[in-house]
Amino acid sequence: MNEELDSQLSAMFDDELAPEQCELLARRLSRDEQLKARWGRYAVIGAAIRSERGVRLNAPLAGRVSAVLLAEPALVTTPGARPTAVRWWQPLAGAAVAAGVAVGCVLWLRAQNPLAGAPLSAHLTAATVSVPSAPVVPAAAESYVVPRTPAVRAMVPSTELANYVVAHSVYSSPVARRNLLSAFMTSESGTAAEEPPDEPAVHAQ
């Protein structure tokens, strides 16, 4: 028997052999009965040194297991047992989902507040046109109390304020203008809410 091979076998038994050498020796060990017998005796030596109580050192356990496995089919590793590789499209799919959610959120917010995204001129035009007498119910309204007639007035900024905004628009940023308009509309809504309704309210669905 080659001494270097036996030396490697001893080191492999102790998990002290380089992985690439283990691969080669494992191949040989699985086929060479003489080498396997030596490997088995190394295990017996270890068990004898440790004086493992009650353990039969000559037990034919390996032979019995081998006999049972003789009838078993050889294993074939299933694909599921392999380490899962990160597929190239997985990061892109994640980004696409995130973008889809973001677009959905924007569309939903616009649907909830259609004037928020409109340009300032639209607000101003709405402020100067005559107020229709029929109740205006926003298309996106789901469930809230809508006064029949004059409450719509609260949604439209007064001409005075609109003129004020136009006069100062040169000196303010678009964001500031929008904030100002929103603040005014809120205060107008609050005023309107304090007024008693002219007619009984109805629930819009």
């Binding site: 036996d6 030396s7 001893s10 080191a11 492999m12 038994f13 102790d14 998990d15 002290e16 052999l17 380089a18 992985p19 283990c22 691969e23 020796l25 494992a26 191949r27 060990l29 699985s30 086929r31 396997k36 490997w39 088995g40 005796r41 190394y42 295990a43 017996v44 030596i45 270890g46 068990a47 004898a48 040194i49 440790r50 004086s51 493992e52 109580r53 009650g54 353990v55 039969r56 050192l57 000559n58 037990a59 034919p60 356990l61 390996a62 032979g63 019995r64 297991v65 081998s66 049972v68 496995l69 003789l70 078993e72 050889a74 294993l75 074939v76 590793t77 299933t78 047992a81 380490p83």
Partner: protein, 201 residues
């Protein structure tokens, strides 16, 4: 040096359909597994049966073993579960060997008396043990220290090298030479009759 590379290389071969590689794993771990199972059952023959069942279960489950943990850790877990199930199915409670040094001898005798099924096995085990011990006693001091630190204390080659103040390569060589010297004596015992005794056992 990666720990468990040896077992992993054998496991990978088994997973590719090489049953012979599994024999090597059984040979390596059979004594440790029987010792582990004997914490749950007293009878060595029963412990061997349970260990055999554990090995077969492990073989069948090997396609699912991915190497996330060490093979022996995974194998021990299977053995413990198999032993617990065996104990439950036979309506026994686990036996904990919580013996102090004073009654160790009496336990030893009890254990031997219960192993009435395989008296030859006990005699031959004792013969192997005494042969190994005699071979160790006959070793030069440096070889004896190296093999004892490895097998009894479970130290790595690097730790043994530090303890013995020598290179790792020297440790590897000393352990190999110690094993070879013991194996020569052991082979004589096996060839002198233990082969037949194994068949009887």
């Amino acid at each position: 040096m990666s720990a468990d590379a040896s077992d992993l290389s054998l496991v990978r071969r088994v997973q590719r359909g090489d049953k012979g590689a599994f024999d090597a794993l059984v040979l390596k771990y059979q004594h440790k597994l029987v010792k582990l199972v004997m914490r749950y059952v007293r009878n060595p023959a029963e412990a061997e049966d349970i260990a055999q069942e554990a090995f077969i279960k492990a073989y069948r489950a090997l396609p699912q073993f991915r190497g996330d943990s060490a093979f022996y850790t995974w194998l021990y877990r299977i053995a413990i579960n198999t032993a617990k199930n065996a104990v439950v199915s036979r309506d026994r409670s686990p036996i904990e060997y919580d013996l102090d040094r004073s009654n160790e001898e009496s336990y030893d005798m009890q254990g031997r008396m219960k192993d009435s099924e395989t008296p030859e096995g006990l005699v031959l085990t004792e013969e192997i043990r005494s042969t190994v011990n005699a071979a160790i006693d006959a070793l030069p001091e440096d070889l004896r220290t190296a093999i004892v630190l490895r097998e009894l204390e479970g130290l790595s080659y690097e730790e043994i090298a530090a303890a013995m103040a020598c290179p790792v390569g020297t440790v590897r060589s000393r352990i190999f030479r110690a094993r070879e010297a013991i194996d020569r004596r052991l082979r004589e015992v096996f060839e002198g009759g233990l082969g037949r005794a194994e068949e009887l056992g």
